[in-house]
Amino acid sequence: MGLDLRLPIGVLFTALGLVLVIYGATSDPAIYARSLGINVNLVWGCVLLVFGLAMLAASRWRAVK
């Protein structure tokens, strides 16, 4: 098939995760009033990052195999 779809998925979600983590770590805590006081950017950014890296690892693993 050529292009392994896990690669672009991994790239996108890793990048999104990084953006959210960095923004979550640096943003004004006041904006989290609406998300019940939880810094959802930081938390969810980590989730996206893990998913993105897992997808990247999977596509890498297939390429090596």
Binding site: L3, A15, L16, Y23, V40, W44, L48
Partner: protein, 565 residues
Amino acid sequence: MTLTLVDGLIIGLYLLVVVAIGVALRRRTKTSEDFFLSGRSIPAWVAGLAFMSANMGAQEVVGMAASGAKYGLATSHFYWVGAIPAMVFLGLFMMPLYYGSRARSVPEYLKLRFDEKTRLLNAATFAFMTVISSGISMYAMGLLLNLLLGWPFDLSIWLWAGVVLLYVFMGGLTSGIYNEVLQFFLIVFGFAPLVILGLIDIGGWSGLMASLADVSLQRGYPADAFTTVWRHTGSAATSPLGVDWLGISMGLGFVLSFGYWCTDFLLIQRAMAAHSLSAARQAPIIAAIPKLLFPALVILPGMIAIGLTHRAGGLSFPLKPDGSLNYDLAMPLMLARYLPAGLLGLGITALMASFMSGMAGNVTAFNTVWTYDLYQAHIKPNASDKHYLNVGRIATVAGVLLSIAAAYLAARFNNIMDLLQLVFAFVNAPLFATFLLGMFWRRTTGHGAFSGLLMGTVGAALHHGLTIPQHAIPGIKGGWLFIVHTYPSEMAQNFSTAIVAWTVCFLVTVLVSLITVPRQADQLKGLVYSLTERGYEKPAAWYLNPALLAPLVLIAALALNLIFW
């Protein structure tokens, strides 16, 4: 709601990856089969997720939340009774014929099984319908983005249509499929935080049940009508859908959902692109697994939103011009309430992704049916493959432009669109009877199929002309001939129209088939189930075996129906 820089960055990253996928696939798209069917090379999990998301255009995402707010948990019938059994049936029994016959489209299967006129009828209505429905959803999205973010209507339409055109033009169906899978993950990750935060806020499932009990009682239903699926469907009056259990199981569960999931080329195309028959059979069944759980992501936000309207400091829905609640805003309201800058961008990206992939789905199905079933069959047969590839690319441009025209038509003449959708509903309603008989009764003839389809459509139109939902004015809602029956709700009328169309088509097809000459058995090999060999190759992994997955999926669907009975 306003977007900040970080939201823009997230949307921009998504667009960048979308276009990059198109560019990367361009070099790999050399033949018409690459362009229209991904060279039949897609792995089962990709085809399955694309199959599931192709149906999840923005209109469905927004619409399912709206229905969740309007009808409560009963909306899950569209998943747990509507979609799942049909998807499993398609994978087990119909994909061997669609894929095994090597037909390149659903209309082409009709040509192989029956004759040219049946194909032409199906191909022409399908091609027209995809363009119109793509236009209608584009119009809806343009309106929503305008309302939500203040983006100009024209800008949204041309910009998103341009991106879709770019990636489909370059990578064809593969681009479409890849972006659908991307969209699947964006919806999951974009809406999950919304649901989690909403549930925490409203006090978990028990808090939601308490809030929705107020909503139910206020609307004159039993207290738990909004949080159960079957308990109050004994009569149409106590069911929030306005349909009783028989209408739900026959109309939605059987006729409408099998008609949609098992015959709509937009969906089947995803499975046809799989790399083997075994993968093509797995695709709809793999798709059924997330489908089981999706009510939590798309219906639950609507239910939470309406629950919050009954709480101090909760939500309030804007009103429509006629004074009713504008349920379509359930999902946007929830996005604005719970998501801060950052995650808001992700949520909006998920909406946009579903909008674009819904449109790309229509465009990829349109260009295939146009090129193979109309152009090659009727205008220019026997040209080179290169020629058809070019025609497909031109059809992609034309399809996008026609969708844009349809979007503006919808903005100007909403009534025309309602009328067209009604006519399409009549044309589609009988389809499943034709496929069922064609695939499983070898005696079915082309004349039988064709006349069955026509009469089924006429039957649907007549039923609509003779009946009307309560409190409606005769006209586009029905009763335009004279009224012989009044239904408790519009949905009940729709389900009955479908049942009538199916039954008429079934009977007419059988009768006409019996008096016309059938084809020889050896011509029907691979086209009729009983005449097709069933030595399937081994699936890639034991857990992908349809014989194992299918019963598990059905048991899970049954369990969900019982848990939320």
